[in-house]
Every structure is written in structure tokens, then in C-alpha cells.
């Protein structure tokens, strides 16, 4: 088991490198380099351009060196916690990420948990009661959930909130807690505000997970071992929960690997619409203003989050499936 986990983590190292390389390519691809953009920005703001400072920045990021050397400087900086500078904010990137990254992780994991909590029972129900009214109902809801871009759901909820209830559903904190330090009340406030974004981001993932769970379970429900369990005299509920559901969970667990990236991806758009204090609006802003060190850091961190999700999913799978564990 430990050998398996070690192997799995070893496998993901090249992935991490590939992801960082991709992020760096994106940083590098706009025309001109960082310092040129920075100088242009300063000039546009009508401030003095300090040639010496520009020179030291060029040295720091190795901008006159070849691509790979620059990449190496960047990635070894990150290993030390230095993500570069944001010229938009005039601050080191690492200072800007802090809290927002934590909120992003909270948002993504709570969405994942929500997705599971909803998809699992409904998937089981739909498979066991295949072609019942409930099954059709959930299928239709599921299809609509899949087909609606989640920013549209966010917009509609905002519209309904503003027009019919006169409330604002945006943000993650009420006004009085935005700048307050962490306390129990602030936490409760956060949980309350999380519900709507979690539901919105989770819709499409929930819809696809329901379909996957339903299909997995339908595959298992008519396998011989289910008949064996019935032939032992187990009740129908126990038969289904102990055997086919348990086995249908295996492929289901492996879906974390792609549901998690999907959630992170979906939250980008929703967070922008609902102006959540997560990394996403800042990332979009950075991309639109070509503040590339900031944007690259975000892309890298979100990718790393996805890769961690993938590793976790594989480990969970190995924990629940002895066939993998013993290999």
C-alpha cells in the first residue's frame, strides 16, 4: 500500500513539471517581456521610470537569458516561495495569493463534498428504480444541469435575488466581516455565503456524477454476485448497499481525478460573476491586464490543486479496492 502511494506520488512529479512549464509558457507568450510591460505601465500611470530598478528586475528574472534558464530561475524561485512581482499591484505575487488561495481551496473542496453528497444517493436511487418517475425526473434535471453554463445559473440567481428578494448574493462575506479577523461568527457567515456558489458550481459536476453512478450501478446490479448475496437470504436493501453499491463506488472514486479540475475550472467563471474573494477574479484581471507573473502563479497553483486531486483520487481508489492495493 505504501509502495503504491509512493509510486503514485513519484508518477505525478513529471506532471507537476509539465504543468509548471505550461504556466511559464503562458507567462512568456505575450509580446514583450515583463520589464518592458512594467515600464510601459509606469509610463502610462505617469510615474517616473527608474532605469536602475528596471535593470535589477531584468537581472532578477534573468530576462536576457535563454528561455530554459528563465524557466529555471522562475521555478527555483517558486520552490523558495517567490512567485515574482505583480506590476499591477506593485507587490510580490505571493502576498497577493495568500487568503484568496485558501478560500479557493475551501470553495473547491466544499463543492466536491456537496457534489458527492447529492450525486451518490440520487445515482443509487435512479439505478435501483430505473425507468421510474423519480429516475426520469432526476435525468431531466441532470441534463439541464449539464447543458446550462454555470455562469448563466449564477446570473439568473443574481437576477432573482435582486429583482424578487432585493438581496445581493455576491461575495463570500457580509460587509461587517470582510476585513474582520477570523472568528466563529465569521466562519458561520462564510458557510452561509458558500451555499449559493457551491450549488452553482456543483450543478454540472453533480449532473455528470449522477449519470456515472447510475450507469456504474446498473452495470453491477445484475452481476451474479448480487444473486449470490440474495441467495444467502440478505434483505434487498442490504444486498444492494453491501455489494453492488460498494463495487460501483470504485469507478466513482476515480472520478475525483477529473471532477476536481472541472470544479476548479467551473468556479473560475462563477467566482467572477459573483465576485467572490477567491483567486479567480484576480486571475482574470491579471490575464486581461497581462500581469503575467500573477496570472502564471494562479494557473500553476490551480493546476497543482488538480494534480493533488488526482493523486488523492488514486489513493482513495487503492484504499477501497483490494485488487489495486495488492498489485
Amino acid at each position: 500500500m505504501y509502495a503504491y502511494i509512493l509510486r503514485r506520488i513519484a508518477w505525478s512529479i513529471p506532471f507537476l513539471f509539465a504543468a509548471s512549464f505550461l504556466a511559464f509558457t503562458i507567462i512568456q507568450s505575450p509580446p514583450g517581456d515583463y520589464v518592458e510591460s512594467y515600464a510601459a505601465k509606469l509610463e502610462a500611470d505617469g510615474r517616473q521610470v527608474d532605469e536602475a530598478r528596471l535593470r535589477s528586475l531584468r537581472d532578477r528574472f534573468g530576462l536576457d537569458e535563454p528561455f530554459l534558464a528563465q524557466y529555471w530561475k522562475w521555478i527555483s524561485g517558486i520552490a523558495k516561495g517567490d512567485f515574482g512581482l505583480s506590476f499591477q499591484w506593485q507587490q510580490p505575487v505571493s502576498e497577493l495569493i495568500g487568503d484568496r488561495m485558501i478560500l479557493s481551496v475551501i470553495l473547491a473542496t466544499s463543492t466536491l463534498l456537496f457534489t458527492w453528497a447529492i450525486a451518490l444517493p440520487i445515482g443509487i436511487y435512479s439505478a435501483v428504480k430505473q425507468y421510474s418517475w423519480g429516475d426520469y425526473f432526476f435525468s431531466i434535471i441532470g441534463f439541464i444541469g449539464l447543458a446550462t453554463p454555470n455562469f448563466l445559473v449564477a446570473l439568473i440567481l443574481m437576477y432573482v435575488g435582486v429583482v424578487h428578494f432585493g438581496t445581493n448574493v455576491t461575495g463570500l462575506f457580509s460587509a461587517e466581516y470582510v476585513n474582520a479577523s477570523w472568528s466563529w461568527d465569521k466562519f458561520v457567515d462564510l458557510v452561509k455565503h458558500l451555499i449559493i456558489p457551491v450549488v452553482i458550481i456543483g450543478t454540472s459536476a453533480t449532473a455528470s456524477l449522477i449519470r456515472i453512478m447510475r450507469a456504474n450501478l446498473l452495470d453491477e446490479l445484475y452481476k451474479p454476485y448480487v444473486t449470490t448475496a440474495r441467495a444467502k437470504g440478505l434483505s434487498e436493501f442490504k444486498t444492494i448497499m453491501k455489494y453492488p453499491v460498494r463495487i460501483a463506488l470504485n469507478p466513482f472514486a476515480s472520478t475525483i481525478a477529473w471532477v476536481f479540475p472541472q470544479i476548479i475550472s467551473g468556479s473560475t467563471v462563477v467566482a467572477v460573476v459573483l465576485s467572490l474573494p477567491t483567486v479567480d477574479p484576480l486571475m482574470l484581471d491579471a490575464l486581461l491586464t497581462q500581469d503575467m507573473y500573477l496570472a502564471g502563479a494562479f494557473i500553476l497553483l490551480l493546476s497543482v490543486m488538480s494534480i493533488i486531486g488526482m493523486i488523492v483520487s488514486d489513493i482513495v481508489l487503492a484504499m477501497i479496492d483490494p485488487r489495486i492495493r495488492y498489485r
Binding site: A19, L22, A147, F151, T268, S303
Partner: protein, 379 residues
């Protein structure tokens, strides 16, 4: 003894016994009513996309200052006048009024003013699909210069119906073009990985796994941020399509590879090799036909994903940009909470996205179920 052959099942009708895979698939597909309806609907959308100009009552770019956020008008088909009632489609005119205190504008129906609509009415000459000169549109105001708003007007008084139709062209075609590109990459890479195996297979599966484990929208955003902002709209359209297919090919490659691997060891493929078929013939005559139906099904499931991706990207302002019109670009107008509170009809393109994606999903599901017509009974 050897003459007592088990006879060919007489119950099986000749048309099934001699039905090719496409005929069997069609039989199976037809039973899926929702998929069949979706097929017609998707076909209808693509007809609209192809002949967009003909279906637009107005030029989508023409603004009208006195019709800012004009609400939708209902068509009335029967015209009651002193001369009697007759079939003459029209909408009722409106007058703009402004609240002197809040300065909020509102439109009031003016039953006396009627704007008549001609079917196949004459309008200013235009070029269909950019090169066929025409001067009639499917519906147009009878009196040139008059305007009506079946789906309402936007903040510049442009006709939302015409704009949504224009968006249909771009959004639906981006799905198609993007998938065509993904398909090319996917079949090439997946096919090579599946057929050749070895290190090519390991490298490409790893690459696929990597790309699939990435959060797509941030990466798309990152890539599109690198497209220069001042580029020609057509180039931008292609650049965005390329970016979408850079990630979109993976799913198709996975399907193709998996099928290839499974088919490569099938007995009938071995039999073809022993019959003397060269590798090219094995691939194109024996393996490809078995893959085709699955590829078509995957493609029809990939199109809606492309459409959703384009919509999200454009919505965030990093996809297509005005003056291009796509559903996502139109929905960007609805991002402002004040706009949608005042003009909820700005959501119309969203309804189109919903129905197009739903229909494509149903269609894809139906195709996938029908893709292997030999899996189950033929009843």
C-alpha cells in the same frame, strides 16, 4: 448427419438479415424519440446558422437610439380593422416615456400604431453567407425603416433576435470547426497510440492524462490572453478554435485509442491479417468502420462542450470580442446586474445555449446507444 444443417432463422426478416451497420444503427436510433427530435432541432439550428442573414429581420449591428432596451413585442397575426378581420401579421407600436423624477425609461403599448410584417419581405440588399446577393429576408417590416423587436432590444437598441441568430452562426460553427480540429488530432494521435503501441502509446497516454487533469478554463484563459487584442476578428475566431481543440482532442483520442486497442486483438482483425490484408487495409477496411460509429457519437458529445467553452470564454471577455457576435459575447452584455434587472430578455442567447447543448447531448446519447447495433438483440 452433416446434412442436417441448423436452418437459417426464418423469423428474422430479410431486411434485418441484410441490413448494414448504418441501417441497424438508424433503426436503433429511431427508437430513441428524444434523440430523434434533437436531431431535427440541431439540424434546424445549423440551417439557421448557415443562412443566418436570411433569418435575421434586421442587420444585427444597426443601432436605434430611441429603442434602447426595447421590450419584446408579441406578433399578432389577425388584423382587425373596419374592413373586417384578416390575416396580416403585425406588432403594436410603443411610445417611450421617461419618469421625470427617477429618469427611468419605460415603453407603453400604443394600440393605434401597427407595424406590419411581411413574410419574405424586401429589405436593403445584403449578401447571404458573404457572397450570394439577396434582398429578401424571412420576415421584415413591410414599411422599410420601421423596426420591431420580437426578442427585445439591447442597450444600443439593436435587435436581439437578429443578434441571437448571428450568434447562432458563430457559436454553432465554432463547435463544429473546433471538433473537426480535435477529431483530426484525436484520431491521429489516438489511432497511432492504439495501433502502434510501445513508447508512442505511453507518451501520448501520459500527455492525455496530464491534459485531462488540468483545470481547463484557467488554461484556456491563459492561452487566449496571449492572443493580441488587436487581431482581425476572423483570425481571433480561428485562434480561439485552435485553443479549444488543443484541449478538446484528448477525450476523442482516448476513445479512439481504447477502441483501437480492443479491436487490434479481435479475432476478425487477426483473420483479416491472415487473409493477406496489408496494415493499411486492416486499419481502413476492418478497424475504421467499427470505430466510425463510436467516433461520430463522441463527436456529437464533444460539440456541446466546445460551445459551452466558447460561451464561457467570451463571457469572461477573453474569447471572441465584439464586433464578433456569439452567444457568449451577447451574454457578456447580461453580466451587469443593472442591465438584466432592466432587460431580462438579454438572457435569450442563454436559452439558445441551453437548448442547443441539451439537444446535442440527447443526440450524442442516442448515437452512443446506437453506435454498437450488435450489442443487443435486434428486436
Amino acid at each position: 448427419m452433416s446434412n442436417t444443417v441448423d436452418h437459417i432463422d426464418p423469423r428474422l426478416p430479410k431486411d434485418i438479415a441484410e441490413a448494414s451497420q448504418w441501417q441497424l444503427m438508424w433503426r436503433k436510433f429511431k427508437k430513441h424519440k428524444l434523440a430523434l427530435i434533437s436531431l431535427y432541432f440541431v439540424g434546424f439550428l445549423y440551417v439557421i446558422a448557415a443562412f443566418a442573414e436570411f433569418f435575421q429581420p434586421f442587420d444585427p449591428e444597426v443601432t436605434s437610439r430611441r429603442d434602447v432596451f426595447h421590450p419584446p413585442q408579441a406578433i399578432k397575426f389577425l388584423d382587425r380593422t373596419e374592413d373586417g378581420t384578416r390575416f396580416r401579421p403585425h406588432v403594436l407600436g410603443t411610445t417611450l416615456s421617461r419618469d421625470p423624477e427617477t429618469l427611468a425609461t419605460s415603453y407603453e403599448i400604443n394600440a393605434d400604431e401597427k407595424i406590419y410584417i411581411s413574410i419574405l419581405g424586401k429589405t436593403k440588399p445584403y449578401k447571404l453567407a458573404g457572397f450570394i446577393p439577396m434582398s429578401r429576408r424571412i420576415i421584415a417590416p413591410t414599411k422599410q425603416g420601421e423596426r420591431f423587436y420580437l426578442f427585445g432590444g439591447d442597450r444600443l437598441g439593436r435587435d436581439m433576435l437578429s443578434r441571437t441568430i448571428a450568434g447562432t452562426r458563430i457559436s454553432m460553427s465554432i463547435g463544429l470547426v473546433g471538433v473537426a480540429m480535435s477529431l483530426f488530432l484525436g484520431t491521429l494521435i489516438g489511432g497511432m497510440a492504439g495501433y502502434l503501441g510501445g513508447w508512442i502509446d505511453s507518451v501520448s497516454t501520459r500527455a492525455i492524462e496530464l491534459i485531462l487533469s488540468m483545470p481547463t478554463i484557467p488554461i484556456w484563459l491563459g492561452l487566449s490572453a496571449t492572443i493580441p487584442a488587436d487581431i482581425d476578428p476572423l483570425m481571433r475566431y480561428f485562434a480561439i478554435t485552435v485553443i479549444l481543440s488543443l484541449i478538446g482532442w484528448t477525450e476523442l483520442a482516448r476513445v479512439v485509442r481504447g477502441r483501437f486497442l480492443a479491436l487490434r486483438t479481435e479475432d476478425f482483425v487477426t483473420a483479416a491479417r491472415l487473409d493477406g490484408a496489408r496494415p493499411r487495409r486492416v486499419v481502413f477496411r476492418h478497424i475504421m468502420p467499427s470505430l466510425m460509429s463510436h467516433i461520430i457519437a463522441s463527436v456529437s458529445l464533444a460539440i456541446p462542450a466546445m460551445i459551452l467553452a466558447e460561451t464561457s470564454l467570451s463571457f469572461l471577455g477573453l474569447g471572441l470580442l465584439p464586433p464578433s457576435i456569439s452567444w457568449g459575447v451577447l451574454l457578456k452584455e447580461a453580466q451587469n446586474i443593472r442591465s438584466i434587472a432592466q432587460a431580462p430578455w438579454l438572457f435569450t442567447p442563454g436559452v439558445f445555449v441551453l437548448f442547443a447543448v441539451l439537444a446535442l447531448n440527447f443526440l450524442g446519447d442516442g448515437l452512443r446507444d446506437a453506435a454498437d447495433p450488435y450489442a443487443q438483440d435486434l428486436g
